[in-house]
Symmetry: C2
Subunit: 305 residues, 2 copies
């Protein structure tokens, strides 16, 4: 238990990320009280039932009242409008943050609405699963994952430090970078992989020569892992691609060139080029396992042994 860093934390949106923050912040004693809200009556009722917030309120405005930490845990495309809505009630000295998977668009859309005296520190915890909603969250989600802060120029360093301390206490490693660099990094480590997974699952579903039943039955050969990623929330991901268009298009360009090179190698029967690449990519896997960002237990679709 750490001493509480904040008096009242307001969570706007209580899905996978918001509910994980609530659970972890309470488990660590980081905030004296948690006020939460979500768009629908159903989600608010479920959050109340789960008991992960001290108070569940009906409106975004009511939620932020008196909060010294406000975190937007909603799809990227909603952040601008919600910031505009809550701005009049944000307490002076409060920290306003978010968890959006894109950062330049958040700075562009939210920044202009932030009242003087409120500290705007955008954040992105790079952690998640393919599930959504308040039941999907768990307190351990952020442990040994990275949380990236992208404070706009001129942000009070004290506010940034305080939010960094908060995320560290949730178990995350914290790094600070510009919103633009964040968007490039995530375009390759997250956005492009999702786009590719969505595409190939769609391709498989529309083939004339291979039935959907065959695709499902024989999915254990690799396809299965793509469907997991392609099961992620459609609203969240639509917003990500619309908000990070330039970086995603840039990475897509490079990927397409590389795919063309490999296609040519296959067409020509050039085994050496294939072998060389397939050997190089193994080293990257080893790197990810060695820094603890994935387990080296083979995943074959169910527990074994």
């Amino acid at each position: 238990m750490t001493a509480p860093l904040f008096n009242r934390m307001a969570l706007i949106g209580v899905g996978l990320i918001g509910s994980s923050i609530a659970r972890a912040a309470r488990a660590q004693g980081l905030v004296r009280s948690i006020v939460a809200t979500a768009r629908s009556v159903e989600t608010r009722a479920r959050v109340a039932e789960l008991g992960i917030a001290d108070r569940v309120v009906d409106s975004n405005l009511a939620a932020v009242e008196g909060a010294d930490l406000v975190i937007l845990c909603i799809p990227v495309g909603q952040c601008g409008a919600v910031a505009e809505e809550i701005a009049p009630r944000l307490a002076p000295g409060a920290i306003l943050s978010d968890v959006g998977s894109v950062k330049a668009a958040i700075v562009r859309d939210v920044g202009p609405h932030v009242p003087a005296g409120v500290h705007f520190v955008p954040a992105h915890p790079v952690a998640g699963t393919e599930n959504s909603g308040p039941d999907a969250g768990f307190a351990e989600l952020f442990i040994n994952r990275w949380c990236i802060l992208t404070p706009p120029e001129g942000t009070d360093p004290g506010a940034t430090d305080k939010l960094a301390t908060f995320w560290s206490a949730l178990g995350a490693n914290v790094e600070t970078m510009t919103p633009e660099h964040h968007d490039l990094v995530l375009a390759i480590t997250s956005h492009l992989p999702h786009l590719i997974a969505y595409t190939i699952v769609g391709t498989a579903d529309e083939l004339e020569q291979v039935t959907r039943s065959e695709v499902l039955k024989f999915s254990a050969g690799g396809f299965r892992d793509f469907t997991r990623i392609a099961a992620s929330d459609p609203t969240m991901w639509r917003d990500v691609f619309l908000a990070n268009k330039d970086a995603v298009l840039e990475m897509l360009g490079t990927f397409s060139e590389d795919l063309a090179t490999l296609t040519r190698a296959i067409r020509r029967g050039d085994g050496d080029t294939l072998f060389e690449l397939f050997t190089r990519t193994r080293a990257i896997r080893r790197g990810i396992v060695s820094i603890g960002q994935d387990s080296d237990t083979p995943d074959f679709g169910r527990p074994h042994e």
Copy 2:
């Protein structure tokens, strides 16, 4: 325990697949004895140490002597030469099979060497992990996975049935199809996913704007899952792409068109097209989970709760 189906099973190659067959066949009492061999002294020594075969011999020729079931568990590109090598010692009435991930090329390369009186029944268990070698195998690998048999025209139905019974006893569901159809189905459910994963991991590794260290640290956003696939054995996969060139190129063509459509939607800010696809792909995931080809436990890189 079933009554033994075969008297002596010879395994040529004892990696992930061969060693899993050995373990499972013994656990189920399907064969009276297992003779195994592998190319290198090291692997043979390790197999002897593991004790998963009754006898480990030094040569492919010695292995098949007196066996009524011979299974080639080696990379696809090796099968033709090994079939030619062992042909003179194959016992009349024996079943010769394999586990190669491509089937038309196997029929083309192995078929001509099969002596009269020997039954050639190619097979492909659609099950695996990203690991290789004799230590990677386990007896449960094939349970509730599919094994595809692709007997060439004119194959003795009794031999096909007997091999089907063997694979069922290992826990697999068995399906029979032509080698050509197998290669199309696997091109989309396995080969293209691997090619895409190898490509994107390679792309990430060569970017100028994003360092390798950043790629590793922030891989939890989706990239991580691709690196698992892209850590698969380079020799095996080089052989797969060389041997299933036409079907892979065909699927690549369709995939590239679909990717171009999605790229255009992003460029134009057409959120509806993205949302529609992202919603459709979720249904496929549900199908895979509902038929038991993957678990619905979220994978976030380590066990939790």
